[in-house]
């Protein structure tokens, strides 16, 4: 099935794109396969599936969107409908991966459907990233790591600074330039 076919089939679910590939690759390169991993905002389930297949880690995926969790489950991913990390126990995960909605969006132009939720990060692009950074530490094991995809459109420095506020140090572990943005995968450690 081509990407275009998949987009037609599930118009309410964000389908794998360049950002998904970059995040999956960065996480797969760094995980050993013995971890318990959470993918937040899994969409189609692509990143979770890649991590599970490539590393053998146990992967759980969450999304707010009911269409997304259904598609992810169809792909064989263990899926939970959730708001970020709220229904997961303290210290449960060795790694958390997140390709967040990160596009800065003019509130006048929000189109209020599931695809907008998958893309829009509010006015500054960080409306979902900031609460994620505030809460992800709770569900991480003591040596746990976060792989967070950010775009130059979102402001990588601002995200690094916000992560620092919550006790994380950030390292860029993958970069890929595109015509209108550069995508970066940040590795966050405490």
């Amino acid at each position: 099935m081509t990407l275009e076919d998949r987009r037609d089939e599930e118009p309410d679910v964000y389908q794998p794109a360049e950002d998904s590939h970059l995040l999956a690759e960065a996480a797969c390169d760094r995980l050993e396969g013995t971890e318990v991993v959470l993918e937040v905002g899994t969409g189609s389930g692509y990143v979770a599936e890649q991590i599970a297949d490539e590393t053998g880690a146990r992967v759980v995926a969450s999304d707010l969107n009911p269409h997304a969790v259904r598609q992810a489950r169809t792909e064989g991913v263990e899926a939970v409908r959730a708001d970020l990390v709220s229904p997961f126990r303290d210290g449960s995960f060795d790694a958390v991966a997140f390709n967040p909605p990160y596009l800065p969006t003019d509130p006048e132009n929000e189109w209020d459907d599931w695809m907008e939720h998958a893309l829009s990060g509010g006015e500054d692009g960080r409306a979902v990233i900031d609460p994620f950074l505030a809460h992800v530490g709770r569900v991480l094991a003591p040596d746990g790591v976060v792989y967070l995809l950010v775009s130059s459109l979102t402001g990588v420095d601002e995200v690094v600074e916000e992560a620092g506020e919550h006790g994380f140090s950030a390292v860029a572990v993958a970069d890929e330039p595109f015509p209108f943005e550069t995508l970066t995968v940040l590795e966050l450690l405490r």
Binding site: R73, V80, A82, D83, P87, R89, D90, S92, F93, H117
Partner: protein
């Protein structure tokens, strides 16, 4: 969902343990029933094998 998922899930409101109620199985998979908070009693439905652990005020199907 697999029953072992209960080891990493908690109530999204008060973070207490959840227990499985009225479970329906398809082989090893739990495909229906509820996850009930042992503290506040809130019930979270399992729909087509997927637990819906959104807080009650976010549970609607339509985008916010």
């Amino acid at each position: 969902m697999k029953e072992s998922l209960l080891d990493i899930l908690c109530c999204p409101l008060d973070k207490h343990d959840l227990e499985l109620a009225d479970a329906e199985y398809d082989g090893e998979e739990v495909v229906g029933g509820d996850l009930v908070c042992t503290e506040c009693g809130e019930a979270y439905p399992i729909e087509d094998g997927i637990p819906n652990l959104l807080p009650p005020d976010m549970r609607e199907e339509t985008p916010a």
